[in-house]
């Protein structure tokens, strides 16, 4: 399913409903700023990534400066401060997967999709990012696509998995 039509422009202001959700998160936290990562994740779910504009809006809701919130946002692997494709592939590059063939998986993705870690396909379908050990080492090599976990990757399963995401 393509979400491209439904994703609003990254420079559009946060919708009222989303602002309400963030205010509710802040309200439930013991201190407003503690809701930072959750709030950024909500924005990311809606827009795919966190733009400068949205970062500033969230910071204001949490009574933080944009710089304070950005110090948090830029620290984390799972908060994207730049646009990503419709689906994000997190390919484990840690040691158990390295032993079991993560390099081969990376090469196959490069050959099929034409992207290296950090890149997005020209059609905006996939972004490939490296990720540290996914706690799936007994099924190495492993990766996630969006929220789904995939293990025991090999030449055949990898292609079949990619096919599931349009």
């Amino acid at each position: 399913m393509s979400t491209a039509e439904q994703t609003p422009a990254p420079d559009a202001p946060l919708e009222a409903a989303l602002r309400e959700d963030i205010i509710a998160l802040a309200h439930h936290a013991e201190y407003k700023r503690a809701a930072g990562t959750d709030a950024l994740k909500l924005v990311q779910k809606r827009f795919g990534y966190v733009s400068d504009r949205h970062l500033s809006e969230v910071a204001a809701l949490l009574e933080m400066t944009p710089a304070e919130l950005d110090a948090v946002a830029t620290f984390y692997n799972l908060i994207f401060r730049r646009p990503v494709g419709r689906h994000v592939i997190l390919l484990c590059d840690s040691v158990a997967c390295w032993v079991m063939g993560a390099g081969a998986a990376r090469a196959q993705i490069r050959d099929r999709l034409g992207i290296k870690p950090g890149e997005t396909t020209a059609d905006g379908r996939f972004t490939l990012l490296p990720i540290v050990c996914l706690g799936h080492c007994d099924h190495a090599p492993a990766m996630m696509v969006d929220d789904d976990q995939h293990g025991n990757l090999n030449a055949a399963t990898l292609d079949a998995i990619l096919e599931q995401y349009r």
């Binding site: 936290a29 700023r33 110090a71 948090v72 620290f75 997190l90 040691v95 081969a104 706690g135 007994d138």
Partner: protein, 431 residues
């Protein structure tokens, strides 16, 4: 049959028991018992059980809890924090407990919070563990509906709220003081000690941070007593351990076994030995921050003291196997890439030293190394070692490097002499 308290309720289909199933199997009975005990009595029993932290450090849980100020004049707000960050490469045990025994986790949190008299608990879960969080949230909601959570639990007067927090994702969040800073919504760099978290932790209040597996033992200790817990283990410290193994073994996986099971038994019996055509050269016994153990020492008991005697540590007890078809220098380069990337950047030796180490290892692997590079690596081992950096990330990073330089000296020199990797570039091909 051998007692396996942590995994006794795993279902063949991998689905967790719902609250009714869990109660039928005896679940939440330990909680009922605990609520009738004095909190100090629970702490004393846990201390006597010799439960040691399963997060890597091996600290006595009872002693950690004792350090929380109690009684007259102590701060009334305390926190219990579950460390479910699990980003140590090669470790996958806490995920199993979250996904397949979420009620055990929730019950463990309630009893442990009661023991230290904390009215708020956080379960800090790495952001990628989406299923874990779904199941924990469902279990917590079910527990609340039955009166096991909320104000005045089962009429005891004790109340508890549990928050499940999704991490933004960074290895340093697993370090207990960074974890608290992360929960506060700040950039999670470690804190200086003293004060200890038990005195001044989350928002300056007394806080206890414990690993997932550590806490999941608590309901069983309360239910069956410290003597029983001690009898589960083969050594001096109590309990079972969730051992795991990954790499080119026949059956990679996780097993709950007596604490002190030997490495060779894990490799040969539980993991089924090596796959056809592969030999085991060495292992990292408990994650990326532990030292290599070589074949000669595989009869070592995997308990806290024995593993130290062979120059390593139990760590998470999730073992990674280096086989003969993978290059040890490449493996170290992979490990140090991880540490260099995950350094929080706060202190200079770690922020600058780890990328330097990674560059040297990459150069040696590519056949562009020099003999004096080995001395430079050796110097890093010294200057990034214990007490030279602000937290334990860098000393952890030096564990595999120091042992690798010692045990794989010949392979390092061969790379440098022959100006190439003797294993050549197999990385991009499926085995």
């Amino acid at each position: 049959m051998m007692d396996k308290p942590l995994t006794a309720l795993l279902q063949p289909n991998g689905m967790p028991l719902d609250i009714t199933g869990y109660e039928h199997a005896g679940g939440y009975q330990p909680l009922r018992k605990a609520l009738k005990m004095a909190p100090e009595a629970i702490i004393a029993e846990v201390k006597r059980s010799r439960l040691r932290g399963r997060g890597g450090g091996g600290f006595s849980t009872g002693r950690k809890w004792e350090a929380v100020p109690q009684g007259e004049g102590s701060p009334s707000q305390r926190y219990l924090v579950v460390n479910g960050d699990e980003m140590e490469p090669g470790s996958f045990k806490d995920r199993l407990l979250f996904e397949q025994t979420p009620h055990q986790m929730i019950e463990a949190v309630i009893i442990s919070a009661f023991a230290i008299q904390a009215s708020i608990a956080y379960i800090f879960v790495r952001g990628e563990y989406v299923l874990s969080m779904e199941r924990l949230n469902r279990a917590a909601a079910e527990a609340k509906a039955r009166g096991y959570l909320g104000a005045n639990i089962l009429g005891s007067g004790f109340g508890l709220t549990i928050h499940v927090h999704a991490s933004g994702g960074r290895y340093i969040c697993g370090e207990s003081s960074s974890l608290l800073t992360a929960l506060e919504g700040r950039r999670p760099i470690p804190r200086s000690r003293p004060p200890r978290s038990a005195q001044s932790g989350l928002w300056g209040k007394p806080s206890v941070v414990n690993n997932v597996e550590t806490l999941c033992n608590v309901p069983h200790i309360v239910e069956r007593g410290a003597d029983w817990f001690l009898s589960l283990s083969l050594g001096a410290d109590g309990g079972t351990k969730l051992y795991g193994m990954s790499g080119r073994v026949k059956r990679p996986g996780l097993w709950e076994l007596p604490l002190g099971t030997t490495l060779v038994e894990l490799l040969e019996e539980h993991a089924g030995g090596m796959q056809e055509g592969y030999e085991c050269r060495a292992v990292l016994p408990g994650g990326a921050s532990t030292s290599f153990i070589m074949r000669d020492d595989f009869d070592v008991a995997m308990d806290f003291t024995s593993v130290q005697r062979v120059g390593s540590s139990v760590g998470t007890g999730n073992i990674m196997v280096l086989d003969n078809r993978r290059c040890p220098v490449g493996m170290l380069r992979n490990l140090e890439h991880f540490f260099a990337q995950e350094s929080c950047g706060f202190c200079t030796p770690c922020r600058d030293g780890l990328p330097w180490v990674e560059r040297i290892l990459a150069a040696i692997e590519a056949g562009e190394g020099h003999m004096d590079d080995l001395d430079t690596l050796g110097r890093h081992v010294k200057f990034l070692g214990p007490n030279c950096t602000f937290c334990d990330l860098a000393p952890g990073a030096m564990q595999p490097l120091a042992s690798g330089l010692k045990y794989f000296r010949a392979e390092f020199e061969q790379h440098i002499r022959e100006k190439c990797c003797p294993w050549h570039d197999t990385e991009e091909h499926w085995a």
